[in-house]
Symmetry: C2
């Protein structure tokens, strides 16, 4: 079994979608990365091949027991045509944390970072250049052993696929409305909330349907135990500015440790604006709203980077934040972080890695 | 798009594994059932085809967000060579309940029952006859649309695969040891515990590893909120006989509503031994043990039917039940239920359906 990366290039390249019609996660590039795991050889046979369907036995364990983990990160095109990755080593580290929780064998992070760079170099002309666009990178692992026993598989596939994605804010950054969910639960301590594993996401669809039915765009999740403490917003971490203090829920064992969250905390610390990572109850939020000290709220994640929140709907009540306008802190964080990611601003933290 | 079942038979039948080496879920029959869903045609193109790998786009949503549900039921060979299904309509009803939770379009239960019977008729010689063996039936649905957005898919596949399985008790029914889990959580109210969806199962592997490391064969799950009330045992519901009273945890919104559980409650009711469905705390269990009133404990599920519990390990303490011997009630329930399932006993409830 070889551990040398092999590359087979497509003889049939696709035509690229127009950069103003990319959307999210619906177009895929010409190539993908695959490697395999079995007990004798560990992770082996890394290869870049044309993007194509994969064959799975109908008894492949991932199709039955959802033994799977994934990541999401982006490559950005700079104004002078270079390609930058944002903190990819953080995503690979988190992938291995997810692996631990879901009993999947760890991947060799350093090797995988090299494979990822090679894949992007191979599909370098798939990194779009228009304002706000990027190449979304989706590494994922699936259990492939054909067996119905309820226990970890002995064989896996690791894949990376690439999707050019459009601007999250084609009309400029703007606040969204959030439905505070009291019935459905995303995650609970002792569960899988800290891992990026498929089951957490399909479990969230019902609540998202409710949010949409209430005319809101995302769900705010409360903790699964007391239904009292704020955890996340949709697939984003969440921050508040209350009476001048910046707060975000502490990583309590059921929240996904976002890399955007981490970066923002580091930036704010650097700016002399420390973030309090602590428990925040929904009552505290309502109280702050009543006292007019709820100054800003925003979600953070790879897809939107910063998503300002203009409204919370809770229990039939409406809380309008900052007159539904993007707050100054949200705007400054968005501009700075996207500036670093796209090479428009200097990167004092060494977060970006160039793909040659 | 047709809704007529088509059948394509294999030209290359497999050799059958010896009936004393079947194990669980590792051998598959010659054929499988597939049908497809899309928005224009609903569920369509039902077909029985040779068992073979399926092709999935690497962006198929089930591989990323685990939008999937499944069922598990059995067909039994009677002594006079007939084939009986046990309450299959219950499994299809539960599949649709799982579908609702995971935002998958409902299947036409009556049609699917006919397709299932046809599939088993096609592979009738795969239903083993040896004592304790059966044909395990695995219907499942996967989201196939190639798209990375976090919301329900627009296309799905429904499959049924068949696996001849060995006796759960090759040396006769015997009690197992159970580890009571305090750290990891299987399910919580508002979560997906009542649905048979993949994410619940891979989420359980870590706790199962702990149970095995402690020399126990299965996990007893406590509720996710207070870590105090008994929910299930491994992939089984659980019953206790305490001071003559038969009790089982009430279906509280995080427990899977087992069909074996339901059948046992109906049988016991019929025998004049009503089952109390209520909350049972781990303290109540420990107390009963101390007072010598914990007479029997057993798990119930399709795989084992009845699995007597001989020991609980909790917090470093050991509770030995009925001197690690199979209790009289467990034995009687096992004999009666397996007797009905295999046609050895009369079926007063109309639970079995013959496949011609
Ligand atoms: C549940 C959840 N929370 C938060 C985040 C934000 O994480 P990151 O900033 O690493 O993208 C994600 C992923 O994007 C997520 O899936
Ligand atoms: C989590 C869980 N609990 C209980 C059961 C028992 O259900 P049934 O009796 O329908 O097999 C199952 C499935 O077998 C299960 O997966």
């Amino acid at each position: 079994m070889s551990n040398m990366l092999t590359i087979v290039k497509t003889t049939n390249p696709k035509s690229k979608p127009p950069q103003n019609q990319l959307g999210f996660g619906k177009h895929f590039s010409d190539h993908m990365f695959i490697m395999d795991f079995d007990l004798e050889n560990g992770w082996h046979s890394p290869r870049i091949v044309p993007y194509a369907p994969i064959q799975l036995d109908p008894a492949a364990m991932t199709l039955h027991y959802s033994q799977t983990v994934f990541e999401g990160l982006k490559a950005y095109r700079t104004e002078d045509g270079r390609i930058l990755l944002f903190r990819p080593e953080q995503n690979l580290e988190r992938l291995n944390q997810s692996n631990t929780r879901i009993s999947i064998p760890p991947i060799p992070e350093k090797d995988v970072l090299e494979y990822l760079k090679q894949l992007i170099a191979t599909d370098h002309d798939w990194v779009p250049a228009a304002e706000g666009t990027s190449l979304y990178i989706r590494p994922f692992i699936i259990a492939t052993e054909p067996n119905l026993r309820v226990s970890p598989a002995n064989t896996y596939k690791f894949l990376i696929i690439l999707s050019p994605v459009g601007s999250y804010y084609p009309e400029g950054i703007h606040p969204v409305g959030i439905h505070i969910e009291e019935e459905y639960t995303r995650a609970v301590r002792g569960g899988t909330g800290t891992a990026k594993t498929g089951g957490n996401y399909s479990a969230s669809y019902k609540a998202q349907e409710k949010a949409s039915a209430h005319g809101q765009s995302q769900v705010l999740w409360l903790d699964g135990v007391e239904k009292k403490y704020i955890e996340e917003v949709g697939s984003m971490n969440v921050f508040f500015k209350i009476n001048g203090e910046i707060v975000t829920p502490a990583l309590n064992g059921s929240i996904l440790p976002g890399i955007t969250r981490k970066s923002i905390i580091e930036m704010l610390h650097d700016w002399g604006m420390p973030v309090a990572e602590r428990r925040i109850s929904i009552d505290e939020l309502c109280q702050a709203y009543k006292e007019n000290t709820l100054e800003e709220a925003f979600g953070t994640g790879t897809a939107a980077v910063i998503s300002p929140i203009g409204e919370f709907a809770y229990n039939g009540e409406q809380m309008i934040i900052n007159e539904r306008k993007t707050g100054g802190l949200s705007k400054k964080l968005y501009d700075t972080l996207t500036g670093i990611q796209t090479g428009k601003l200097n990167d004092p933290y060494g977060w970006t890695i160039e793909v040659k």
